[in-house]
């Protein structure tokens, strides 16, 4: 028993068949953790069975943030439902928009024009940076690195200001829509973006100076929460969880969408499979995102940012004053909306947390029959139970932190 306890800190040797008594032959302790706990990134409740400080069992209880988003979408028209997609994984609204837009576009059989695709890539990569900033800030805060939060939120705020510049909204942008994007980027946006890609690599160096070789950070993350690549695949883990275990699976590279195949970037992959490897993966992704942003800025094509289809998107404002047909289209779109041919489709994008998919069923009417989100956090959270068994309860914080679950995404 004692040898098992020794290696248990590495996360793997203690199995579920452990005896129901604790180390000294006494009863195991069951404690309630959450739902209102600052380290759970939302409202996650865990029922933890403890042997001293070792975890013998975890039962996540979720649903505290369930807002019935999939149900609400069935009551909204296709173009209205975009607004709801923003709100379930509230840290990566652009990726949620994109998955939904790609699914609807595939059902409609339209493809966004090249400029819209490039704008989508730019906004998604900015979103990835802002999401990783918040992740790095909060999860290092939980492990005691207080000042990280200030540094990371500084860059996140820059990205939110860019969101506001391009879409008028800081967080829930609803920027990407079926058929294209909401608006073209302004001159000021390009200036902000040029400034940002110039400065961001230096900021990532700052983060690395504070954490990568920090002895306390390493003691809290190296060897903690080990997940082998076979288990990662078996448990359906995606994103930095599977890449941190050594599988270079990134949908942007392996099953490209929205023109990602045009950009030259590397998939961030680490082989250690622990919390530190997942941290390194995300740090690499910061740099790769900046690389993609630079290329996308330099190569953005001219042209329309929406498909030229009056049945799908409203006509430009100036046409309404001269064209009767434009008024009719406008009226039809905002009273009835457009209909989508019957069928079902699954479209997936690589969100900061992993594979974010959107499964859409249309029955041919102007509202979706069913929208199902394949939430990366929901699946990754199931791996938590597996990763944390046999580790210390304090390490569970590091494991939850580096799994980067967003409870709005888990509960939808």
């Amino acid at each position: 028993m004692s040898t098992e306890t020794e290696t248990g800190v590495q996360g793997m040797t203690i199995t579920r068949e452990a005896p129901p008594t604790d180390h000294f032959g006494g009863e195991l302790l069951t404690v309630n953790f959450g739902p209102q706990h600052p380290s759970t990134h939302g409202v996650l409740r865990l029922i933890v069975t403890l042997d001293g400080e070792l975890i013998r069992g975890i039962r996540p209880v979720i649903g505290y943030l369930h807002t019935g988003i999939e149900k609400q979408m069935e009551a909204l028209r296709w173009q209205q439902a975009v607004v709801v997609t923003d709100r379930h994984d509230y840290l990566s609204p652009l990726h949620n928009n994109l998955a939904y837009a790609l699914a609807v576009e595939r059902l409609l059989g339209v493809e966004a024009p090249p400029r819209a695709q490039a704008l989508r890539v730019i906004m998604c990569e900015l979103n990835r940076i802002s999401s990783h900033c918040l992740w790095l800030g909060t999860s290092s805060l939980e492990l005691g690195a207080m000042s990280m939060f200030m540094y990371c939120l500084r860059e996140r705020d820059t990205v939110l200001a860019m969101n506001e510049e391009i879409s008028g909204y800081r967080m829930h942008t609803s920027y990407i829509r079926p058929g294209g994007v909401m608006a073209d980027a302004t001159e000021r946006f390009w200036e902000m973006l040029a400034d940002f890609v110039e400065k961001m690599p230096g900021h990532v160096d700052e983060y690395e100076n504070l954490l990568t070789n920090n002895p306390i950070w390493r003691r809290r993350t190296v060897g903690i929460g080990y997940l082998s690549v076979e288990d990662a695949i078996r448990l359906g883990a995606t994103g930095p969880m599977i890449r941190g275990s050594g599988k270079p699976w990134d949908l942007r590279k392996t099953m490209p969408y929205s023109g990602y195949e045009k950009y030259d970037f590397e998939v961030a992959v680490e082989s250690a499979g622990d919390c530190y490897a997942r941290y390194l993966c995300r740090i690499k992704e910061f740099r790769e995102s900046v690389r993609i942003l630079k290329q996308a800025m330099a190569s953005i094509p001219d042209g329309p940012f929406n498909v030229d289809d009056r049945k799908l998107l409203p006509p430009p404002r100036e046409e309404l004053e001269t064209s009767m047909e434009a008024v009719i289209h406008h009226f039809k779109l905002f009273t009835e909306g457009y209909s989508v041919p019957p069928g079902d489709v699954y479209a997936a994008v690589e969100s900061p947390r992993g594979e974010h998919g959107c499964y859409v069923v249309s029955d041919g009417t102007h509202k979706p029959r069913r929208v199902k989100f394949r939430a990366a956090s929901f699946v990754n959270l199931q791996a938590l139970e597996f990763m944390a068994l046999g580790s210390m309860i304090a390490d569970m914080i590091a494991i939850i932190g580096t799994a980067d679950t967003v409870l709005g995404d888990v509960d939808r």
Partner: protein
Amino acid sequence: MSKARTRPHASHEHVLDEGVSAGDRWITVKREGIAETLRALQAEGYQSFLFMSAVDHLATPVRPEPPERFELIYQLRNLEAREELRVRVWVPEDDPVAPTASEVYAPAGWDERETWDLFGIRFDGHKDLVRILMPDDWEGHPLRRDFPVGGEVVDFSEDHEVWQTAPEKA
């Protein structure tokens, strides 16, 4: 498209139908053979289980009409060949039960709990089939089409005794 390159699964004994929807390949499988088919597909290389869920086809305007009210969807992926496959199972309204897939694919455990919670479809052999998103004492299954939007009682509101939308009007 590369998606139609291989089609080994058409030979499974439980497969009823196959096709392509908006570029996604799918097969329909007999309800009792779902776990067996998934096991065979897993051995064929579909290691990754993306999600499973259900669709309620109550009063659908689609013609020809779907054979049953509920449809279960299992989305699988072959990581090496980079192919996806959707497996469909029809589940009748009066007997909403299907065999569990959680023995084959681990992530199906929570997905089946969610499907039970939101659609009221039970999974035979699931070890822990309890509600996951809704409260334990919830009545009804919210994602069924006959469950009204805004149909829940709002706690701590002045008219908390009344329904926001009467079920018959939704």
